[in-house]
Structure formats: C-alpha cells, structure tokens
C-alpha cells in the first residue's frame, strides 16, 4: 500500500530534477541582470553533445563536462549578442531556443543509424545508476523516495545550495547581485561588468546543459525524429524562477511542487485505487488540470510576492533584469 506512495515520491524526484538544474542556471543568469529565454535550446544543445560525448567515452563525468561546456558556449553566444552587441535579450533568447532545438534535431537526424546505443555504454549506464545512501535509504517510504537516486540528483541539490551560498555569502556573489540590481552603480564601483556577466551567464547556461543531459539519460538515450528530450522543461524552468523568487534553495521546493503535479497526472489512478476513501476523487480529475496547476500556483506565488514586496519593499527579482547596460547611456 505504501509502495504506491514511495513510487510516487520517487518519480517526482527523478522527473523534476532537470527542472532544478535549469532553474538554478536561469537564476544565475537572471541575477546578473539578463533574461535568457533560451533555456530550452541551451538544454537541448547540452543534452545532445553531452550524451554523444558520454557514449563515445563511455563515461558519465565526460558527459557532464561536455554538456556543461557546450551549453556554456551557447550562453557565450547569448552574451556576444546581448552584452557586446547590445541586441534585445528577449529576441536573442527566443532565437537561441529555436536554434538550439534545431541543432539537436540536425545532429540527431544526421547521425541516423549511427546513433549510439545507450544501454551498451555500460560504464555510462552504471555511472547513472541509483546509489543508495547508507542508513538514510533504509528509512521506510522516504528512504527509497529521496535517498536512493542517481548521482546527478544529489549533485543538483548540492549545486542549488552552493549557488545560494555563493550569492549570499561571497563578495563576488554580492557584486554579481549588484550588477543585476543596478549595473550603473556596480560599474562606478569598478566591477568589471562585462567579465562578470559573461562568466555567470556561461556558467548558468552550462548548468542548464547538465539538466538537459539528465533528461536524455533518463529517457534511455533514444533519439526520436520529432520529439526533443527537453519537452518544454526549459519553459517551465523560466516560470519556476519566478515561483522560487530568484532563490536557488526555494527552487528545490519549487521543483518538487511542479514535479508533484506533473507526476500526479500519471499517478492519480494508482493513488485513487490504493486509497479509495481518502483519494478516490483523484480519479475524476482530468489530466489537463494537473498540467495547468503548477502555472496557476506560479500565478498565485507571483501575486503573493508582489503584494508582500510592496509592503516590505523587498523582492528578490533583479531590478535591472532584461535591460541591456550601455555605459554611455548613464
């Protein structure tokens, strides 16, 4: 009976972890004052090149590294256009999504029958296998659900916490936040804006790429002509950034909430039949409601945040987001 609950929680984690990578990456980008709508495309590029390199080398670290680097290069393209050439950030981001997904299909279709078979890359597969944390994984329900996952799940949580520490506890993080709030002020204090922005946008994009790689591995690494692994998660991540109020630790909770509804869409029936008295009603909820709920909740969070921030004058949203900084404009 509890097994259904365990599976439900377990699946929430494994299917929503890519969102945590993408959200953390996007938070890092947005904290530097740039709005990158190219998450979906960045993830797609990181996913396909990371996966292919990982299969070639038969190694998970190589896969992670290559996905990070290739996605960071996509981030560099965003930087060149929006920082160096001062192009519109929204348009550039959307273009990156289109091109990134197109690159994914171009490479995949081009490889055709030469597409590597994931299950034959034994070391890559075993690298991505579930690891049970001794002691913790023995706890009933929660042990299996939260402490017996593949290494990239734990890594995502570590990354989220590290980014939070980086923003809150280091002077570099403070300077970065200053750029996102008021680039003019940061500039006048001698912060090298261009360098900061380039590095953080590239790092953030790289993290998104790891999320993409995770999705590819989790799908068994099969390339299908008209379906992209990323499947719209890049867009959800952009909503999650708002949901998490630009905090990577909140993003851990936010990811779980989004994943909760997504997974409930599949698990509503098993839960309803296992607990007919308490959750029997779940079987009557249309699937589309579960898909829409996370966004309804985002809207709610947005309203609550904006009301709260008006009272306390304290919102986490970077003030200068989406606006290109041009020194001569000051």
């Amino acid at each position: 009976m509890l097994e259904v609950l365990t599976l439900f929680l377990f699946n929430i984690v494994i299917y929503s972890i890519p969102l945590l990578y993408a959200t953390c990456g996007e938070i890092m980008v947005e904290k530097s004052g740039s709005l990158n709508l190219g998450v979906e495309g960045t993830m797609a590029v990181g996913a396909i090149f990371g996966f292919l390199a990982g299969c070639k080398a038969d190694s998970l670290p190589v896969a992670v590294l290559v996905s990070f680097i290739t996605a960071a290069l996509v981030g560099a393209i965003f930087c060149i256009f929006t920082i160096t050439l001062q192009a519109n950030q929204n348009v550039t981001g959307l273009t990156i999504t289109t091109i990134g997904v197109a690159v994914y299909f171009f490479v995949g279709n081009g490889l055709g029958a030469n597409w590597p078979v994931y299950r034959e890359c034994t070391r890559l597969v075993s690298g991505f296998a579930d690891i049970e944390i001794p002691g913790l994984s023995a706890i009933p329900v929660i042990g299996k659900a939260f402490f017996s996952h593949n290494i990239l799940v734990y890594f995502a949580v570590i990354v989220a916490v590290l980014i939070w520490l980086y923003f809150e506890k280091t002077s570099i993080g403070l300077r970065l936040r200053a750029i996102g709030e008021n680039p003019g002020a940061a500039d006048s204090l001698g912060v090298d804006l261009v360098k900061y922005k380039y590095l953080h946008i590239m790092a953030g994009s790289g993290i998104m790429g790891i999320g993409g790689l995770y999705m590819g591995l989790n799908m068994g690494g099969t390339f299908e002509g008209s379906n992209c692994w990323i499947n719209g998660y890049g867009w959800i991540a952009i909503a999650l950034v708002i949901f998490a109020n630009w905090s990577t630790t909140h993003a851990i909770v936010g990811t779980f909430v989004f994943g909760f509804f997504n997974t409930l869409r599949v698990y509503n029936m098993p839960i309803a039949t296992t607990f007919p008295n308490t959750f029997g009603w779940l079987s009557k909820v249309p699937a589309q409601v579960f898909s829409a709920l996370p966004f309804a909740v985002t809207l709610l969070v947005l309203i609550v945040n904006s009301v709260r921030s008006r009272k306390t004058n304290k919102s986490n949203a970077p003030t200068a987001i989406g606006v290109n900084y041009y020194r001569e404009d000051r």
């Binding site: 068994g220 029936m269 098993p270």
Partner: protein, 408 residues
C-alpha cells in the same frame, strides 16, 4: 500622414499581388489536372512534423509518398512539393494549400486530423485539384476523399503475440499506454482489437490501459509504462503513442512489449515482440495513379471507390516481423488469423471469435460464435452476428470490450 499613406499604398499593392497570384495559380493547375502526361504531374503534401524526421507519424507518411512516387516513376525532386511543420490551424493549412496550388499541384495530401476543415473548404475552392485527407471523416463526391487503414486488424495480431507471451511468462496483466482512450474511435478500436487478440489466446488476460491524454509526450509515455509495470505488475506493454519510450521502459524493466508505427526492436531488442505498422505507400500509389489516369479531378472520388479504408487485404496495415522474443506458438496463430482477415472471411468486431489451441507446430484456430460484449456487460453484437459497420470502428466506437480496464 505621409507615412500612413505609404503604408496604405504598400498594403494595397500587396493585396493585389496576392490576389492575382491566386488567380493564376488556379488556372494553371486547372490546365494540368486534365493532362495525362506523367512527368508534369505534381504531388503536394502537408505535414504536421518535419519531412526530415527519422521515425514517427510524419516519417511514415513521407516514406509512403516517396515510395509510391518511386514505384510510379515520378521524380520526388521535381514532382513532389512539401510544406511541413504545419500546425492544425485552419489559417495556416489554408496558406499551405494556396502555396501548393500555386506551385501547380494536381493532388494534395494532408496527413493530420486537424487539417479537415481547411481541406473541405479548399476542395470546393479548387475543383481541379484532388484533395485527400488522412484520418478524417469529411469528403465530397468529386475531388475530395479521406483515407485511413484498418490498423485494428494489425493490433489484433499483435494482441495474439502479447497473449501467448502472457501465457508463457504466467502473468495475465498486460499494459497498454495510449494517447487517448474512448474519446477517439481510433485509439478505442485499437485497444479493443488488441484486447480481443490477447484474450483469444489467453481468456484470463486483463488489459490495463493508461491514457496519457496527449498525442505526443515522451516523458508521460515513459511514466505511464513505468506505472503499468510497477503498480499493476504488467508483463507485456503495448502502446498507441508516438515515441518508443514504453518499449525502452519494457527493455529496462525486463518485461516484453508491442511497439507501434515502426519495428521498435531497435530500441528494445530483448523486449519487443512485434508492432502494428502502416504501409501508407499502398494508398498513396493508388491515389496518385487514379488521379494521373483520369481526365478530370471531379471523377476522382468515384474512380478510387470513395473513401479509402484499406486493411491487411490491401497491405495497407501489417505487423513488424516477429522477433525471437515471441512465444513459440505466436507465429503460427498469427498466420492463421491473418489469413482469415486477408481473405475477408472474418473480421475482428463481429459476433464470431477466434479460439486458438494446440502446441507450437500444431496450432489450430476455430471460429466460435460469441457475443461481442463491452466491459460493462452490454452486448454490442449478438453471438454469430455480422461485423459492426466501418463507421463504428472509424467514428462512434466509445466503449471498451470485456477484459479492458481503464487505469487513468
């Protein structure tokens, strides 16, 4: 003011250009449709996804059209005009049709259900062009028909393979990941035929259907297959959805599966049994040849025999080659059932059921009068009764047969 004026002038000029463009397009294609010359016969196609796809729905159609044209001897470089990635939006489909008409197409195929209204309107607007629409239900009696195939027949055969496998592994629970359930006759009839095939072999088999309520979402397809295996204990996973994820999951979890659309043993070599597949080229060849050989597009509907609904007999549908993962009796039983359907002696949704018995090497198939009953106990066809109408299979079937359980 000056700016406004120039914008106004520009838009007037543009409108004029568009209008005249349309005018010439119609007359141009009109002069061509009548001709019987082979090399100037132009085929147009509108796809929902990319023509460069390597698998899936659009790929199957594109492959069908290309094969048909090669068989006929038409060049796909010069005589095939494609507009792809056209969403199911009336306005965009109309634009695509206008473009193809302007390029002188003599016949235009639309492969997605949602193109239906735009095609019906275009057929009236361009009486000299032949329009064929897949999976729809509209047509006129001159230049517009719809086409589809009896994929349920292939699903019945796949069901037999699944049924024997369930007997062999001693697990009566069979899973079925479906894009939709009783909402669409296409998915519903597929599930029912599969269930009937499986239960003709294993009367105790239960088909658990997990409906994901979308045509294409790999993530959901994967999760649904996982739920079927882990929660309902299914030992065979069938599917009516786009991606190979249910088969990939079956492979990972060490159970068996029946794919769809293509031979998915590439994705799941140790799990895959067989898959219902389409041979769209059968229809495309027939349609193009019919249109090429007639003097006027208005005769098309009559010449091709109305709306097209080909099955195993025509070769429009079939199953992928049986893999070595199959139970030993499967191949023989499937061949027997297949012959009955090819010859037209028997069809799935009738008051006669097939009953298989015997070991491998001596499998026999008996025709047994048996009422077709839905899973709530209502009788659909009395024992010994004739097949339901094609209209039911294509349009109004909205119930599951005995042995099917909806799990979502």
């Amino acid at each position: 003011m000056k700016k406004l004026l120039s914008v106004l002038i520009a838009s007037v000029v543009m409108c004029a250009a568009v209008l005249t463009g349309c005018g010439t397009a119609t007359s141009e294609s009109g002069s061509q449709a009548g001709g019987s010359a082979d090399s100037d016969f132009i085929v147009g196609a509108i796809y929902i996804n990319s023509q460069n796809d390597t698998a899936g729905y659009t790929y199957a159609h594109h492959h069908g059209i290309v094969t048909a044209m090669e068989n006929i001897g038409l060049s796909t470089d010069t005589n095939l005009k494609i507009i792809d990635n056209v969403p199911e939006d009336d306005e965009q489909v109309r634009t695509a049709i206008e473009q193809l008409a302007g390029q002188g197409c003599d016949i235009i195929f639309g492969i997605s259900f949602g193109y239906i209204n735009a095609f019906a309107e275009a057929a009236e607007e361009y009486p000299d062009i032949v329009f064929c629409h897949a999976t729809g239900y509209l047509s006129n009696d001159t230049n517009f028909n719809n086409y589809f195939g009896r994929i349920y027949q292939a699903r019945y055969l796949a069901g037999i393979a699944a049924g024997y496998k369930s007997l062999e592994i001693g697990n009566n629970d069979i899973g079925y990941v479906s894009a939709w359930g009783t909402e669409y006759a296409e998915t519903c009839s597929g599930i029912n035929a599969f269930a009937m095939g499986a239960r003709a072999v294993n009367p105790d088999a239960v088909i658990h259907v997990d409906e994901i309520s979308t045509w294409g979402d790999q993530e959901l397809e994967r999760q649904a297959a996982e739920v079927l295996i882990t929660t309902y204990g299914c030992g065979v996973i069938a599917q009516h959805c786009d991606s190979a994820q249910p088969q990939v999951v079956a492979e990972e979890q060490g159970v068996y599966g029946c794919g769809y659309n293509s031979d998915m043993s590439v994705e799941a070599p140790n799990a895959h049994l067989t898959a219902p597949v389409w041979n769209w080229d059968v229809f495309y060849q027939l349609a193009i040849e019919t249109a090429m050989n007639e003097s006027s597009a208005s005769e098309f509907f009559t010449n091709i025999g109305g709306n097209y609904y080909g099955g195993l007999t025509e070769g429009m549908v079939d199953i992928a080659p049986l893999t070595d993962n199959n139970a030993p009796e499967a191949a023989e039983a499937i061949a027997l059932a297949r012959d009955l359907m090819v010859s037209g002696e028997w069809d799935v949704f009738s008051g006669t059921a097939l009953s298989f018995s015997g070991e491998a090497g001596s499998v026999t198939c008996d025709l047994v009068p048996q009422a077709l009953v839905d899973n709530e106990g209502n009788e659909i066809v009395a024992a010994g009764g004739a097949s339901v109408d094609d209209g039911v299979i294509q349009g109004s079937m909205n119930y599951y047969v005995e042995g099917v359980v909806a799990e979502s």
